[in-house]
């Protein structure tokens, strides 16, 4: 198994994906810095400034909205095995296909964590630098900021797993990307508008994500719009476990169904 994991890591680091991944991570972290320099007080509508707890939380929450990006990278990576038909050779070298998927999940969990840490580190540096440039102090203690960013990094690792599992499940790169992207951009937000579903929100990927990242921004916005009380989010570790559960279910379904299909 270690050989398979090591091979998947090599596959990941020798394609261009790691380059795009690094750029995306640096970009999303840098964007937070840019927004911090502009200052939440200058947003439309104006939000509390960088020197307030709320203002800092808004910026960290925005970073939390980019957690789907590594999921897309994970999805693209697995689906590309089918697209470029390397799956044939891969299945020859690892005929028991679950071993191959398990190795991918482990390797990409590592890749997702690196992505998350890179994003979080860039965002942290950018936030503190922006505050220094503007001559203010962040509205939250440094330890709190770092802890929240760390949770986002962890969320990104879990999301990468989710992306890998969905990619293995759907196999078609475009379909998989549309499903993953579409879900986080549209479907879940739309679901939130249905009162019955709203109670389930804490257990949906987005709700579990919000619990893990500590961002209730979206849930509260929806509650504001619909005039209902925001659903109570799960504790962060439980939220993480729920997300991990989704990834494992998708992985298990991928092993049970599509991976058994003929590779013709």
């Amino acid at each position: 198994m270690t050989a398979l994991i090591s091979a998947e890591w090599l596959r990941l680091t020798t394609t261009r994906l790691w380059l795009w991944g690094s750029l995306a991570a640096l970009g999303s972290g840098g964007l937070v810095g840019l927004l911090a320099i502009v200052g939440p007080e200058n947003f439309t509508p104006p939000l509390p400034g960088l020197d307030t707890a709320q203002g800092t939380l808004v910026l960290i929450g925005l970073l939390g909205l980019t957690t789907f990006a590594p999921a897309l990278l994970g999805t693209a990576a697995v689906a590309s095995e089918y697209r470029h038909r390397t799956i044939t050779t891969t299945a020859l070298f690892a005929p028991r296909r679950w071993t191959w998927l398990a190795a991918k999940l482990v390797a990409y969990a590592g890749g997702g964590l690196v992505y998350g840490l890179l994003t979080a580190a860039t965002a942290a540096a950018a936030l503190f630098a922006a505050a220094a440039i503007k001559g203010v102090t962040l509205g939250l203690p440094a330890t709190t900021v770092l802890a929240l960013l760390g949770r986002i990094a962890l969320t990104m690792a879990v999301y990468t797993l989710l992306g890998v599992a969905v990619g293995a499940l759907l196999r078609n790169q475009v379909t998989a990307l549309v499903v993953v992207g579409g879900y986080f951009y549209m479907i879940e937000t739309a679901l939130l508008l249905i009162p019955g579903i709203q109670a389930l929100y804490p257990y949906l990927p987005g709700g579990a994500t919000a619990a893990l990242t500590g961002s209730t921004y979206l849930a509260e916005a929806v509650a504001d719009q619909t005039g209902t009380a925001a659903a109570q989010l799960l504790p962060a570790p439980v939220g993480g476990a729920v997300l991990l559960g989704y990834a494992l279910i998708a992985g298990a379904v991928a092993v049970a169904a599509p991976l058994r299909r003929d590779i013709a």
Binding site: L4, L10, T15, T86, T90, P95, R96, D262, I263, A264
Partner: protein
């Protein structure tokens, strides 16, 4: 049975209403190159993918040394396979591709360098796979298949896209591998090519076995083609027909020949069991003019078309 025997028994695969492979049985032995022949769509690729566990058979078994591919202890060290001609990540270099699969199979850098040298991949190891020609891709496929130094090789149309020089190289390469005692099964629809490298052939048509055996037996012997304005008379003499007045000169039968003569068209004969010299001697002794006399060498193509019922 040795550990390197290929055994296919009653293999059947249906895709919905279509039967791709039907009750197919054959074998391949170490030290030989077995040509797996059939026209496009005959079921060659489906069969090879079933042998490698990529496609699940509807019924029947395909084993290597008595074991299914997926049950082999180290599959890539036992069987090497060349299937897709283009299963590469486009931004990988040829060397990246080899290194990824070497890691999967736990083969070291020395082995990567060795197979790259053996197959000529070294010459373009640093190029990304999207820039490789079809011939280079086939060499890279072969290098990947050889990573585990397998004793059994399954190659699906490996010469596709190779130039004549590449085909000659492949032929010698596979012959050498067989001489080392490996079992080699190579599918092709280019018969002339298989003829030059295979010891045994397996012919399938519409997913069914047509014939299997040593290539020399299946191709048969040479024939003599003759054109003559008195073809019917010559035929009678050659067959030692009584009315032809055998007895003068050397009759074919006395020469030990078991002659078979067919009239392929008016004025043209195909003669089996006699040499050109014997046919010419009979014609000369009877004063029969010959407009043409040719030795028709046996070809796999001829045998194949005959076997698959498409002989002209």
């Amino acid at each position: 049975m040795s550990d390197w025997d290929i055994a296919v028994r009653g293999l059947t695969k249906t895709f919905g209403p279509v039967t791709a492979v039907s009750d197919l049985s054959f074998g391949a032995e170490p030290g030989t190159v077995t040509g797996f022949l059939g026209s496009n769509g005959a079921g060659k690729t489906t069969t090879m993918r079933m042998m490698l566990g990529l496609i699940t058979p509807t019924s029947g078994t395909a084993t290597i040394g008595g074991k299914r591919y997926a049950d082999l202890r180290r599959p890539s060290a036992t069987v090497g396979a060349v299937l897709d001609s283009s299963g590469f990540h486009p931004s990988h270099t040829a060397l990246d591709h080899l290194r990824v699969y070497a890691r999967m199979g736990r083969y070291g850098p020395a082995r990567v360098a060795r197979v790259a040298d053996l197959t000529g991949v070294s010459a373009f190891a640093g190029r990304t796979t999207r820039t490789l020609s079809t011939g280079m891709r086939q060499r890279l496929n072969l290098a990947t298949a050889l990573l585990g130094d397998p004793r059994v090789l399954l190659l699906d149309e490996p010469s596709n896209g190779l130039d004549p020089e590449g085909i000659a190289w492949l032929r010698h390469f596979l012959r050498d591998l067989a001489a080392e005692g490996r079992t080699i099964l190579v599918s092709s629809h280019v018969l002339g090519e298989v003829e030059q490298m295979a010891d045994h052939i397996v012919v399938i048509h519409d997913g069914r076995l047509v014939t299997a055996g040593p290539i020399v037996e299946l191709c048969g012997t040479a024939a003599v083609l003759v054109r003559s304005p008195q073809a019917d008379l010559l035929k009678a003499w050659l067959l030692g027909d009584e009315t032809g007045g055998a007895g003068r000169g050397e009759s074919p039968r006395e020469a030990g020949g078991e002659a078979r003569v067919e009239t392929t068209q008016p004025g043209a004969l195909r003669i089996h069991g006699l040499t050109t010299a014997q046919v010419a001697a009979v014609a000369a002794s009877r004063g029969i003019p010959l407009h043409e006399i040719t030795l028709e060498r046996p070809t796999l193509e001829r045998a194949f078309l005959h076997l698959t019922g498409r002989a002209r």
